[in-house]
């Protein structure tokens, strides 16, 4: 029910940035936010209600002695601050999604199918995540992520960081998902919102098994 999000700087396919939905003025970018990991790269927990927290989070731990000093140089975002209810935040993500999808989907059916996630953005959408070789599954809330990059980082944090000794990132794995029709699809082909709406569960499989999927685009 919770997902650890370890916000790490990572390379990103530029063309996916364009389809990512985010709050904020044009020109601002989350790449400015570098994580300032204290001893352990602990991410702050999200709750089920945090459906659309719009930026990555890092816990300001007790050990962080920045309170008396000037504002910290690296402005890592903090959970629940500013204190605006997730409900309100998620409504704006909803609005943005609709505005973006509007030009392409004046047709009512398409509006219902594709940006259906937009109308549901307020409610959490947990999908199971399995990884080949891991003893148990996890669950992530797809509403929490604005794009593939964030999702990948979350998955890395969950499965790859400490448990799996060998792998350092997901490049040895292919991230796939099962969609509404039950087909196994490669993550990354469609705009993120569309993916979030149709994904029923995620599966991280070894590249060696992902034969026949062509050269997967890095997500």
């Amino acid at each position: 029910m919770e997902a650890t999000v370890d916000y790490m700087k990572a390379a990103e396919a530029d063309n996916l940035l364009a389809t990512e939905l985010r709050l904020g003025l044009p020109g601002t970018s989350n790449d400015d936010h570098k994580a300032t990991p204290p001893c352990t790269p602990r991410g702050k927990k999200r709750t089920a209600f945090d459906a659309a927290e719009d930026a990555a989070v890092e816990e300001v731990t007790n050990k962080h002695d920045d309170v008396e000093a000037a504002p910290p140089v690296a402005k890592a975002q903090v959970v629940g601050w500013p204190p605006v209810r997730s409900y309100r935040k998620s409504c704006f993500q909803q609005q943005q999604a609709k505005q973006i999808s509007k030009p392409t989907s004046n047709n009512k059916e398409e509006a219902a199918a594709a940006p259906a996630p937009a109308s549901n953005a307020a409610t959490p959408s947990f999908v199971k995540v399995s990884m080949d070789g891991a003893p148990y599954l996890r669950k992530v809330d797809l509403r929490m992520y604005k794009g593939y990059r964030e999702l990948r980082e979350a998955l890395e944090a969950m499965f790859v960081s400490s448990n799996n000794g060998g792998a350092a990132n997901l490049s040895e794995f292919a991230v796939t998902y099962e969609d509404k029709d039950g087909d196994l699809m490669l993550v990354g082909d469609v705009p993120f919102e569309m993916f979030a709406g149709t994904c029923k569960k995620l599966r991280i499989m070894k590249r060696s098994e992902a034969t026949g999927l062509g050269s997967p685009r890095q997500i």
Partner: protein, 657 residues
């Protein structure tokens, strides 16, 4: 004086004039009883106001105190004449019917045993500010004739994702107990509680006279539960769903609107803007058409202006309208014209409260001009209006008392509000981009303008990025009636933007000059000095929210020692440690709760509190990522007074000391 928003309680019986009790205005401060229970009244909802008077039912002695009926004299039950005590109690009950405010009732219940009994039988509304402060069984045993129950669950910081999922606040045990005990129950209001579909089904089944359901910031239920309520509660007058999180899967949702009875309904209020799934519009239209008493209707964003018009035509008597969205669904040629929509608004002669506008076509905004002059409440906080779009509207809103808006209107927009809305009582300015580094479109300039134009202001919530002490001081002087002052400078530790000084003087002026202040939220760069002011002058403060503020434990000490009426203290990310915590030992029983997260507390300090204060429940809440096992540092502390001791439904990540 706060009264329940919707009238549902039965009228008190007629009694002879000589015995009429004058309706006391209970603003008197009640001295704390031996168990240290104090009473408070406040409004902390972040949604259109629903006045909920707040008091704990406690106050009648400690644990284990049982009152048996005291039938002295007479024939030991079944006598031919009522013993004198019985007569007195009957009279007393008739008299006490007139007391409605819980604070008055708590005081009355302390007079003596017969008053206690009489009060317990005549209390109609049961208010429980912390669902874990008392058990359902205990409440049900004491109060016999309850018709309305108000329950609050999670601490407010749960709204900001600071309380992990699964923490608690389940309504199930309450519904299970209330069902058999109060078959005539009419009203249930829940805030920040987890409500399942099964709970809703049980409510629908248990209370044949059920009239009002109000769920604010709740979660755990879906349209399935709503369908049960709609279908089975034949006397339903109010169904208000405000900022809840529904658990609907797209393919599993239920057409709950169609489940209302086919005949005319008694619906007065139907609020469901947070039910984000699509619904059957025709069913809604038909429902509205057969609900002649409907006064408040707030739909979700799946309603187009064309559909809105149809609804308004069916319900011209509406006083409160939530438009959901405010856009056309039709193809460009067939879209409705502004003047047609304006006609609909003109026909709604009773409209005083407007909200919605979630996705709006700005060309439709002028349609609301006909109602602006009569509006007392306008909520644009989901519409990213520019100041140019706002100005022509707000210029007509001369009678506005409540205004919620996004900061996209900028200082310019706020100036326009200040110029026109001289009667404004409540203002809330929300950020479109709720991040620390956002541009922020409103500042001290807007605040200053508002303070000059709206001297009757009582409540303000203001998100900004730039603020000055001068503007805050100006507001403290221009708006002496302020009861709620919540300023959120979004960048952490931001000082005065002009002088570079901490914001101590600004907040100090607020507590000094606003003598009616009961609720305060502080932000910006603050030192212990600010809290010294708060402790010294904030004598009426009941709710205090602190984030990223203070230098040392002295801050906490100032607050505990000075704010004698403090009920709720919520603190995050401030350098307060065990010493500060322990300085509050003598005051915790007078408070409803204390919340502290990401401060400098340790297990030692928290354990000491738990040991010394037996009637407190001290919860240490861990994050799941704490793989380090037992850690000395405490990340989240939630402590509250309770008659029940540690709760038995705590999840594994909650450690009750």
């Amino acid at each position: 004086m706060s009264t329940p928003r919707s009238s549902s309680t039965s009228s008190p019986p007629q009694i002879p004039q000589s015995l009429t009790l004058a309706h006391t205005a209970s603003s008197t401060t009640s001295s704390s009883s031996a168990s240290g229970m104090r009473d408070a009244a406040e409004d902390d909802s972040d949604s259109p106001p629903s006045q909920m008077s707040e008091d704990d039912p406690g106050g009648g002695g400690g644990e284990g105190d049982r009152w048996e009926p005291d039938l002295r004299g007479g024939n030991g039950g079944g006598g031919r004449w009522a013993p004198p005590d019985q007569v007195l109690e009957n009279v007393l009950e008739s008299v006490l019917e007139f007391l409605t405010a819980a604070r008055d009732r708590n005081a009355a219940s302390l007079v003596c045993r017969s008053w206690y009994r009489a009060e317990a039988q005549t209390r109609r509304e049961l208010f429980i500010g912390n669902c874990y402060a008392v058990s359902p069984r205990r409440a049900v045993e004491r109060f016999g004739g309850v018709r309305a129950v108000v329950l609050k669950g999670k601490p407010r910081f749960a709204d900001f994702s600071l309380v992990p999922y699964g923490w608690g606040a389940y309504v199930s045990p309450w519904v299970a107990a209330l069902g058999p005990a109060y078959p005539r129950l009419e009203r249930i209001c829940l805030k920040r509680m987890t409500v399942s579909d099964a709970d809703l089904a049980l409510v629908a089944k248990s209370f044949p006279l059920f009239k009002e359901l109000s769920l604010v910031c709740c979660d755990g239920f879906s349209t399935l539960g709503l369908a049960d309520i709609a279908e089975r509660c034949r006397h339903l007058r109010v169904l208000d769903l405000i900022e809840d999180y529904l658990e609907d899967e797209e393919d599993e949702m239920v057409d709950w609107i169609s489940k209302f009875p086919e005949s005319n309904t008694s619906l007065e209020s139907l609020v469901f803007d947070c039910v984000s799934v699509p619904f059957n519009f025709n069913a809604l239209e038909a429902l509205v058409a057969r609900s002649p008493a409907l006064r408040r209707l707030r739909v979700n964003h799946h309603v187009s202006v064309e559909q809105l018009r149809r609804l308004m035509a069916r319900a011209p008597q509406l006083t409160h309208l939530g438009t959901g969205a405010f856009r056309s669904e039709a193809v460009p040629d067939g879209a409705m014209s502004v003047s047609e929509l304006a006609t609909s608004f003109a026909a709604s002669k009773s409209l005083i409260c407007l909200s919605g506008f979630r996705e709006f076509n700005s060309e439709y905004l002028p349609a609301i001009y006909p109602v602006c002059a009569k509006l007392t409440s306008l909520n644009f906080s989901f519409a990213s209006l520019t100041s140019e779009e706002l100005k022509p509207i707000v210029r007509n809103c001369v009678n506005l008392r409540t205004f919620w808006v996004l900061d996209t209107v900028g200082d310019e927009g706020l100036k326009a509000v200040a110029e026109t809305c001289s009667d404004l009582r409540e203002l809330r300015v929300f950020p479109l981009d709720a991040t620390e580094d956002s541009e922020g479109s409103v500042s001290d300039v807007g605040l200053q303008a508002i303070s000059e134009g709206c001297p009757k202001l009582e409540s303000i919530l203001y998100f900004c990025q730039r603020m000055t002490n001068a503007a805050v001081i100006a507001m403290s002087k221009n708006c002496p009636d302020l009861v709620v002052f919540r300023l959120c400078i979004m960048g952490r530790h931001r000082p005065d933007r002009i002088t570079g000084e901490p914001m101590d003087d600004g907040f100090g002026a607020i507590v000094m000059n606003c003598k009616k202040l009961t609720r305060l939220s502080v932000s910006g760069l603050l030192t212990d000095k600010a809290f010294a002011y708060i402790g010294k002058y904030g004598k009426l403060i009941k709710t205090l929210s602190v984030a990223f503020a203070g230098n040392s434990d002295m801050s906490l000490q100032y607050v505990f020692e000075g704010c004698t009426k403090l009920q709720k203290l919520e603190v995050r990310d401030s350098p307060f440690g065990d010493k500060g915590l322990l300085s509050g030992l003598n005051y915790f029983y007078n408070m409803r709760f204390l919340w502290m997260n990401s401060c400098r507390l340790t297990m030692r300090g928290c354990s000491e509190v738990a040991q010394q204060m037996q009637n407190l429940v001290v919860e240490v809440i861990k994050d799941h990522s704490d793989d380090e096992g037992e850690s000395e540092t405490v990340d989240k502390l939630y402590l509250y007074r309770s008659l029940e001791g540690p709760r038995n439904d705590a999840p594994p990540f909650v450690n009750i000391l």
